[in-house]
Symmetry: C2
Subunit: 335 residues, 2 copies
């Protein structure tokens, strides 16, 4: 578990999109961000107070989070100076980069010397159990997609926010590095050893109050041959009471697989629900979340109406419209 | 890849069942076994020539394989002496035990000093790729089960043997430690990191002659919540042309899960085929393999006939009857 609040490190980000991890933290957990630190030439700006490492510590920051993707896979010398100063000044470091903090000798040595933690959130920090399949108390909603990267994280974050706004007890349960950095905890399920995948999701979403909802971030797709096993482990470990179908309507083929066409929402409905009912016979598909970023306002409105009619389910783009209608469709929540 | 042939180490096995790895090697790849080595008190006997380490080396053995499960998770002092002598005498070691050869300091040191390999087959030795999903040449048959441990390895080994006997080009592709020790190569898919599971199966079963059949050992079950993700990775990485449904009819519930009932063969047929057709629209279910070890001869015969009638598919117990009828049902093989 990563100590909050954070100082968000933007480095020398060449554009705002490169800082999407930092932007996600600021958008979804603003209370976790005490300020930002940019290097000269940085083209990203979250609009938070610009702080030195020392100012951030004084303001209560516990962890410096690398909020940008770096280029070329190397942590640059310019970054290193800030990261070293953060450890010396009493902050932990957290990163979702492929190249690991722990593999930088100077960072390892300083963390050891100063008793600080290095969180490489792509690497599991826990020995997960093998899944038991036993029924857990509390309610769970899982996002499943027709493809990878169609908005499953966004959908579950938006549902969690809408639930809180409506007074529903709720938690977002991240399963990828961006989500883990946003909340400070979670399971990097892609990096878990096969035998323990479903168990890691049981661990992530334990027993809870009967009226509490966990919104579990989905990964991959049952129809994406590279990652489908991870998706099924999420369905079986997650034991969902509710599924939300996620879709991006302009994609010409499955992500990274030119010879695979994207399945229909109907096919996703059928297969995901059949698999979910193995662990929870009461599971229902409660709505559809469409990522309409590549459609105009008029096109988006028409497409959402068409899907809602065809599927007979509440259908929204949570980015344009929020996720309140999806939360209202959860069993026991109501209007 | 483990060097063959082997000396099969039976240790101080308290009963024949404990030596099932050694028995599997002797049954399925007798050409891989030059002899056996038992310690005083051993209650297992494969009927092979009893040899010292030195005699085995003289007879051409390249690897000592630990063919027994040990008790308590410790490699005993009595075993250690033989294992050390094998390394000194020029053999590699191979083991499927949970406790690893490489974690025994004296074995590591001797292997290093003598240039020998320690194969812990539960641990992947390869950096597998992420699955591409691209169509590969050659034909593939995968065993899928209603549950874990219903005879998937046995079925695919028996089909491989029957195919060879019929003059069909064939390979058995192991995905668990026993199978890997039998053939000397394979993928311990349970131990592969999630993102690379399907890719490891693509690696295991590469392009081949158009009339060559790979018989891929299945793992877990789409209906077993602890391991279903591994099963789906096998289906999508395996890209099967043919599925064989495996079932054990006397099981009261899913293995290790008292609250889960075993699915019907019809449910397995539907779900496994739907998932397989994502990667290979031509895939067919070609037969059923029943493990009738807990039925009498009369019961087994009646049950096999009943399933064959109900499913409309060749239905055999490969242990009682061999797997020839299953191989004959493969597309392009014929009678």
């Amino acid at each position: 578990m990563i100590q909050t609040p954070y100082l968000l490190f933007l480095g020398d980000a060449p554009d705002p999109l490169t800082a999407k991890v930092a932007q996600g933290i600021k958008d979804w957990r603003p209370e976790n961000a005490v300020g930002q630190l940019s290097l000269p030439g940085c083209k990203a700006n979250l609009g938070l107070t610009e702080m030195t490492v020392e100012e951030a510590v004084a303001a209560g920051a516990k962890t410096l989070v690398i909020g940008v993707a770096n280029r070329g896979g190397k942590i640059s010398a310019a970054w290193m100076e800030v990261l070293e100063r953060a450890l010396i000044s009493g902050m932990d470091l957290a990163s979702g980069l492929h190249n690991l903090l722990r593999d930088e000798p100077s960072l390892s040595a300083l963390a050891e010397a100063h008793g600080r933690a290095l969180h490489d959130v792509r690497v599991p920090e826990v020995e997960y159990p093998i899944a038991s399949g036993e029924k857990r108390s509390g309610m769970r909603c899982l996002a499943v997609g027709t493809d990878c990267s169609v908005g499953k994280m966004y959908t579950t974050l938006a549902m969690d926010k809408a639930a809180r706004d409506m007074g529903v007890k709720s938690a977002f349960r991240p399963t990828g590095q961006t989500g883990i950095l946003i909340t400070g905890e979670g399971v990097p399920v892609d990096a878990v050893v096969a035998d323990f995948m479903a168990g890691s999701i049981e661990w992530l979403s334990p027993d809870n109050d009967g009226d509490h909802w966990d919104f579990i971030e989905g990964q991959g797709s049952l129809f994406h041959p590279s990652y489908s096993g991870v998706t099924l482990a999420l369905i079986h470990g997650g034991q969902p009471d509710a599924l939300v179908l996620c879709h991006e309507p302009t994609r010409p083929h499955m992500r990274g697989l030119p010879s695979y066409s994207v399945p229909t929402l109907e096919a996703l409905h059928e297969q995901a629900l059949a698999m979910a009912r193995v662990v929870n016979p009461a599971c229902e598909v409660i709505g559809v979340s469409i990522n309409t970023q590549h459609l105009s306002d008029v096109e988006a409105e028409a497409y959402l109406a068409e899907v809602e009619e065809k599927m007979g389910l509440p259908t929204v783009d949570p980015f344009r419209q929020g996720a309140k209608r999806l939360v209202q469709a959860l069993p026991g929540v109501g209007v």
